[in-house]
């Protein structure tokens, strides 16, 4: 390793260390005025009374603060629940907001400096590690030694990374108040873009986008000279930065609803939820644009594009989840399970999620237009369960946290309802396929090994059969790593796309049909 790369790695790890240490720093002090800032009018009275013991008390870390805050509030809520005073229970979660307004001291006073010392220095360090990678080496496949890497082969490092990611996601989804300091340090960016303070989702968006950009540059280094790989990487970087990250914030700046145009239902499972519809309907022309473009995408855009190009146009060129998988997740792509058994599980799971999402949405829409007469607010419970199980646990905790365990496309493969929908179109009505090159396959296994979706590409290639699979996201890596030039992603005539009895070229004595 070159010295400059060592420096880069050191900076990265230093930044990571600081990033984690700041969780334990800062002081937190709740006051009556601060409470008034965040509490809704109807709750203010109760909160003031219940939280009075905390006023003026200085906590030296967020954990103690959150612990006490919850204690006082839970005491009240439990009492109300016991007495069945359901309308008196405070269902809103004020913890993160309270921790935010109450924080002063080191972290709150040094947001910008800490932002530089963590996220920016980390990205910078990573970049100076990444940029010299493979310099001076001819263009080609860069997989030397990969199977010996502890990080990439479920070794100690890989397991540690996985556990760390899982913990972060658990905090992010269910205990955001504990990571209030991370939210605070992204405040300066949020204020620059949308003018408002950062939420935990904004903080997440910043890190997510940085991860895609930095690791996208790693992809450029790794696949230097391979235009397909470079173009699609540039594409996910662009869509993440502009459509997924900046545009929604800019909309907020103009008091429009938060909306990510490239997050399509049913991946964006809240699209038809009442509050989203209300938001869009009440936001004039832009709101209508959101609603109509969203619906048009689902009904026409998705099937049409998938018909012409396969689901790759979305999954490995546009989508944010795909974007992270293709960049930050790339080092783990070979960890996906290739067995027939996992394929079976995949089909059951992903289609169940699709059915769940469709049924939930259908109930929601009907309920909305019947003015809640039909199901009352029981769809809320459906939403909550879906959000918890699929939206958070599956897409987040498992989806990213399991990169180092089960590969970078766990969510896309087993859980994403949009991928399931795209997949059905791709399988049955599309011009996309991976063509195999006659009899040239030597069954080496590179293609299957590096397929992130767990497709046993070789199974098809060695019998001369086109690969037409619902799950294929068209990343093109099988084609890139094939040492014999056997695989080509193509959009072409539907005729002859699916061959159940392929013929391997080369043998004139008998025509071998593979059943």
């Amino acid at each position: 390793m070159k010295n400059i790369q060592k420096l880069g790695l050191s900076l990265f790890f230093l930044a990571l260390l600081i990033f984690n240490v700041i969780l334990c720093l800062g002081t937190f002090q709740l006051t009556e005025e601060r409470l008034e800032e965040i509490a809704k009018d109807e709750h203010l009275e109760v909160l003031r009374k219940e939280l009075r013991p905390m006023f003026g008390v200085k906590y030296t870390n967020s954990f103690a603060f959150v612990y006490n805050f919850n204690n006082y509030l839970d005491g009240y809520n439990d009492l109300q629940k016991d007495e069945q005073n359901w309308d008196r229970v405070i269902w809103d979660d004020y913890t993160l907001a309270a921790a935010r307004v109450s924080s002063d001291g080191f972290v709150a006073n040094n947001r910008l400096v800490l932002l530089f010392m963590t996220l920016f220095m980390g990205s910078f360090g990573a970049l100076i590690y990444i940029l010299p990678l493979y310099r001076g080496e001819p263009k080609g496949i860069k997989h030397n030694g990969l199977m010996l890497s502890s990080n990439k082969r479920r070794g100690i490092i890989g397991i540690t990374v996985g556990i760390y990611l899982i913990l972060i996601y658990i905090l992010l989804y269910w205990y955001p108040a504990y990571i209030v300091n991370w939210v605070l340090i992204t405040d300066p960016i949020s204020r620059k873009i949308s003018g408002g303070p950062a939420s935990q989702w904004f903080m997440y968006g910043v890190i997510y986008t940085l991860a895609i950009l930095v690791m996208g540059i790693r992809m450029f280094r790794k696949y230097w000279g391979n235009r397909y790989q470079m173009l699609r990487t540039a594409s996910v970087m662009f869509f993440q930065l502009s459509f997924a990250f900046l545009l929604p914030e800019i909309l907020m700046l103009f008091n429009q609803p938060y909306h990510n145009f490239i997050n399509i239902w049913p991946l964006d499972y809240t699209f038809f939820f009442d509050y989203r519809i209300d938001d869009m309907l009440s936001s004039g022309a832009i709101g209508m644009l959101m609603l109509i473009s969203g619906i048009l995408l689902i009904v026409i855009g998705v099937p049409l594009m998938t018909y012409f190009y396969g689901k790759r146009w979305y999954c490995s060129w546009v989508c944010g989840c795909g974007g992270l998988a293709e960049t930050a997740g790339d080092p783990y792509r070979h960890l996906s399970d290739k067995s027939v058994k996992s394929w079976k599980i995949e089909r059951w799971m992903v289609h169940s999620v699709l059915v769940f999402a469709v049924v939930m949405t259908a109930f929601t829409i009907v309920n909305y237009f019947t003015g809640y007469e039909w199901l009352g607010h029981s769809t809320d419970m459906l939403h909550e369960w879906y959000g918890f199980l699929i939206g958070a646990a599956f897409a987040g905790v498992v989806g990213v946290g399991f990169y180092p365990f089960m590969g970078n496309r766990v969510w896309c493969r087993y859980g994403c309802p949009l991928a399931a929908y795209l997949g059905i179109v791709q399988r049955f009505k599309s011009r996309f396929r991976i063509t195999t090159n006659g009899g040239q396959c030597i069954s080496c296994g590179n293609c299957s090994t590096y397929c992130e979706m767990g497709i046993d590409v070789r199974w098809y290639a060695q019998r001369g059969q086109n690969i037409v699979r619902a799950s294929c996201v068209g990343c093109g890596v099988c084609s890139s790593v094939c040492p014999r030039g056997v695989l080509k992603l193509e959009n072409g005539n539907e005729e002859g796309r699916i061959s159940d009895m392929p013929i391997i070229i080369g043998n004139k004595s008998v025509t071998i049909k593979n059943q």
């Binding site: 997989h143 090159n437 009899g439 296994g445 590179n446 080509k488 391997i504 070229i505």
Partner: protein, 453 residues
């Protein structure tokens, strides 16, 4: 020619390489009842020999190289025996094995593969001197190259360059001794050979052309210390990789009445001189080779086709082996090579050649054709993927060179967005031959054109 009949209930195949396994799979597809046993000493399951290098280089683990999941064999009732056959008892139709009890057969298929050549060099048996053919060789190579300061590869062929690449993946300095004037020049025409030679050097491999090994020197403890070339140069090294070809693995056959020459002699139906005994794959030698083919063919694809054909013959009315137009491929470090049809390293009138090379010197295309009839004989390409089906069809029907050059976009199998060489090749052809060509392009119509399809 015997086919499977009522009396032949047990087919035994020795060798679980591509030829033996293909044969077994295709017999099973045709006949769901017959008992099939596959005996092999190397590994329990079929794996891809061609992927050995990737295991060493850390691109894959051994299990990734297995083309079928382990449950495949049981499900298809292909009985696997992991052992070495030590003796074939032709009279009693019985095989003796190293560890397991003897196995009786009704029909025997020999798919024994090859073994690497060592020739008679002094010092060839020293520790640290080896070729690469099977899984055990890979394990040896792993052990032999630990703490290696320099390695020498002998022989400029496909295995030689693979070994060089393997060693370079672990940053071991490599000196590569090649007897010919250029790398693999006995197969590749000079332009292609030179192109690969440049790329070899680009990978910091010390390529020594026209250099022949004289002997290998002992360090006193039975390990290699250096090699001496015929010009007297001493090259210190701790590992010597032998890439000087392979020969049919026929040691098991030597004391049997089965006829052998360089390989096991078979007719067009893969039958040996003994009734009920067949041979396929690397270990065979054709009594009457197919037109313009050598007597011994040791590549993956021919092994597969032998297996397909024999399986067909055992379950149907037999047909003679008749391979289609020749094709092959390889990868020289980062440069992929493909060939279709016949392109020898030198050619004579009336054959003529067209050659184009990319200015960066890593991509090229050659077409060999008959100067009178203009019929295409074969193509070579480096760094440029070509479509097998296109050339298979064209060669079979005797298409012309002009046809190929004007429709190269159909023949290309490069990844989408890859640099398009068609125009450059077309111009090069026009300026070399003075013939004006018009590229044949499909007209795009309607909605599809809108989407660039």
């Amino acid at each position: 020619m015997a086919q499977i009949n009522q009396n032949q209930k047990h087919i035994v195949i020795i060798g679980n390489g591509i030829s033996g396994i293909t044969c077994a799979r295709h017999i099973r597809k045709q006949d769901s009842d017959i008992r099939i046993t596959i005996i092999s000493g190397e590994t329990e399951h079929f794996y891809s020999r061609t992927a050995l290098m990737y295991i060493y280089m850390g691109h894959m683990k051994y299990h990734h190289t297995k083309p079928y999941e382990d449950h495949f064999w049981g499900k298809n009732r292909l009985n696997l025996v992991h052992d070495w056959v030590t003796e074939i008892d032709i009279d009693n139709k019985k095989l003796n094995l190293e560890q397991s009890p003897p196995i009786e057969y009704d029909l025997l298929v020999l798919a024994l593969g090859s073994k690497y050549n060592t020739f008679g060099w002094e010092g060839k048996d020293l520790k640290g001197v080896q070729g690469l053919y099977n899984y055990q060789d890979l394990e040896d190579m792993e052990a032999n190259t630990r703490n290696c300061q320099r390695a020498v590869i002998v022989g400029g062929g496909l295995i030689g360059i693979e070994m060089a690449e393997m060693l370079r993946s672990r940053h071991i300095p490599v000196t590569f001794l090649v007897r010919e004037k250029e790398f693999w020049n006995n197969i590749l025409p000079e332009d292609e050979a030179r192109l690969v030679g440049r790329h070899i050097r680009e990978h910091h491999i010390d390529l020594r052309l026209e250099t022949v090994l004289d002997k290998i020197i002992d360090d006193g403890n039975g390990k290699v210390k250096a090699v001496i070339t015929q010009s007297g140069e001493v090259i210190p090294c701790q590992f010597v990789g032998l890439g000087v070809g392979v020969s049919p693995n026929i040691s098991l056959i030597q004391d049997t009445p089965i006829e052998v020459d360089r390989g096991i002699l078979v007719d067009e139906y893969f039958a040996t001189n003994i009734e009920g005994v067949y041979a396929i794959g690397d270990c065979v030698q054709y009594r009457n080779p197919p037109p313009s083919r050598p007597k011994v063919e040791q590549v993956w694809y021919t092994g597969r086709m032998h297996g397909e054909t024999l399986a067909y013959n055992l379950t149907h009315k037999p047909v003679p082996y008749q391979p289609g137009p020749w094709f092959n491929s390889a990868k020289f470090l980062d440069i992929e090579y493909q060939t279709y049809g016949v392109v020898p390293c030198v050619w004579k009138h009336p054959l003529d050649s067209f050659y184009w090379e990319h200015p960066e010197g890593k991509i090229c295309f050659r077409a060999l054709y008959d100067g009178n009839s203009r019929q295409l004989k074969g193509v070579n390409s480096m760094g440029f993927r070509l479509r097998h089906e296109y050339f298979d069809v064209l060669l079979k029907r005797g298409g012309t060179i002009e046809e190929v050059i004007s429709s190269l976009h159909e023949a290309s199998f490069d990844q989408e967005f890859a640099e398009d060489h068609h125009q450059h090749i077309l111009h090069a052809f026009e300026s070399q031959t003075g013939i004006k060509l018009y590229p044949i392009k499909k007209k795009r119509k309607g909605l599809l054109a809108l989407f660039g399809l």
